[in-house]
Amino acid sequence: MNSTIPVIVDGKKVEVPNGSTIIQAAEYAGIEIPRLCYYKDLTPTGNCGVCIVEVKGQKGFKRSCTTPVTPNMEIITRSAEIINARKTVVELILANHPDDCLTCIKSGDCELQALSQQLGIDREKIDKVLTKKPIDDSSLSIVREPEKCILCGRCLRACQDIQTVFAIEAMGRGFNTEITTPSGSMAESVCINCGQCISVCPTGALHEKLEIDEVWAALNNPDKVVIVQEAPAIRVSLAEEFDLPPGTNLVGKMYNALKMLGFDYVFDTNFTADLTIMEEGSEFIERLHENGPYPLITSCSPGWIKFMETFYPDLTECISTCKSPQQMFGALSKTYFAKMYNIDPAKIVTVSIMPCTAKKFEARRPEMRSSGFADVDYVLTTREFIKMVKQVGINIAAIDDAQPNDLMGSYSGAATIFGTTGGVMEAALRTAYELVTGKALDSCDIKEARGFEGVKEFTIDVEGTTLSCAVAHGLGNARKVLDKVKEAKEKGKPSPYHFIEIMACPGGCVGGGGQPYGSTLERRLERAKGLYDEDGGMKIRKSHENPEIKKIYEDFLEKPLGHKSHELLHTHYIKRDALL
């Protein structure tokens, strides 16, 4: 079979990969066919009817997103008829859509708004047919505004096909269809808060629960000491929103912007990422010595944790008890930081900037109060952070670099790659290998753990013991690995793996549900590259070599898995109802 075939798009002959759909083929001819339900990384459903084209010799219009090309197909993407039909479809959609742009969180990023502009729809031609559907803001992470939903189905593809969570589904039929959870409430559902549905939603029908106002209030309150941490993935996800090449690492400018916003202390989640490696690495070493139980599974992705608690509670004993870096940071901010800087912890407000919507949920878990306070007070997504920056007119691209504050701001290369799939595994192996063998790895780079393959499996030899490792990102991929573990367990066989890393989101946190829109896999890869580049260029690339990490054990924690660690840095899990 030929790998490319010729097609003719609006009279122009182009060679396109065999198996392309018309919408993809047209791109080779420089034409971006208007679309609404199509999303590059998802199975096309053909729901919206906007992307129609004509194919010579065939009756009627074809949906370009679902129709595969055939050799020498003649495609017409624009004719008066096509354009009128597209406009009428969008007018129909608008007839069933509130005119809330001025106050809509999605305004400016909204694909429906943009499409309406693009097609030149300049007046309301069809009378509105609206149904009142209340906003569901019950969830700590995800807000649903069903009136703005255009039923494109993208969120279902994300939640069902990719994440295999099935929290949401289309209920009812015809005009009364609504995408919702069985109970009608996101809070009372199996939703794991990953926000992948938000990432792909073209409208404001799904978005994160905003905490911007609360953060401004804290910043403006002179009695509060407001400190901030930023997840590894943030530094490589800002550039694209400020007209810089995607994936550019803006860590210094990020610190500066936070200072300009008025945060009293700017630290970095990467510091606690290194700390996580110390704790989790030690857990792993313990299991090595005691020959199990295997596998050890990472715990820093709160989306994954809720997934495990809901669908794989039998695997609880396999999960590392380490809190996520965000929560370790939170607990330390009101203990270690308070002590070292001599600040009343009651006055401290801890804010985190996260690529993640699940972190909002995680921060409010009842277990997450080991400092005696809410360890983390507010969680902002990358998008919320950017909104704040834009609110006050800071142009990140143009400002200077700054440094974080001392104590919890330094990090190793191992920490920074936490932000992408395979990074935690690689970081942990760098440290564990050295702590066990006393020797450094030949190379810090563990290439087998990198890249976006759904499940990455490899082995590594540690002093004659062959360790099997698996890395999965996206929960559909995680299921593949977990089912193998489960099956072995049920049959009384040894675990097929020793160590597993799981990240809820495809690509890991670079693809988190709180990241800037347009977060395709391609974009996620660009961000991941930014992280690997940073790691590669760093002097300190192993967590245990981070001087501030050495210091915190000396001054405060004493030793990994010690008493204080257990109290502040480790947690436990609960079993959740899967029938919600």
Partner: protein, 156 residues
Amino acid sequence: MDKRILQKYPPNAENLLFALHDIQDAEKENYLSEEDLKNIADYFNLPLSKVMGVATFYSMYSLKPRGKFIIRICESAPCHVAGALNVINEFINVLGLEKVGETTKDKLFTVETSACLGVCGVAPACMINDVVYGNLTKDKIKQIVDDLRAKGGSNV
């Protein structure tokens, strides 16, 4: 809910529609309760959202309690031109209801409208549970309701 009903079917999603029918029929109030749906999801090892998605898609299933007799009146074109609107009004009148979708206070009757029931030869027509009633007239409707009431009263 009697879980034995489910065990009739292998736990394969292909049998979901059957199971929903049977469980609903076994419910005294002719509907699928939350508990039913959860049991079904559990038995078939399906996400509850999928089961709910299916149960809310098909018009023969109800997630709200209904009467013992479900009167489904056809309102498609052939029945419409034969006077389906009068039939709807007559049932509502005779049963003392306000509108379609309601259940009588004695929980005996629920009036629903339906698309073509495939018995248009006797339009205007309705189905009450499994039984077809055709060529409906005012008198016939009254008679039907009286008969069912007599029947329903005896074994509720």
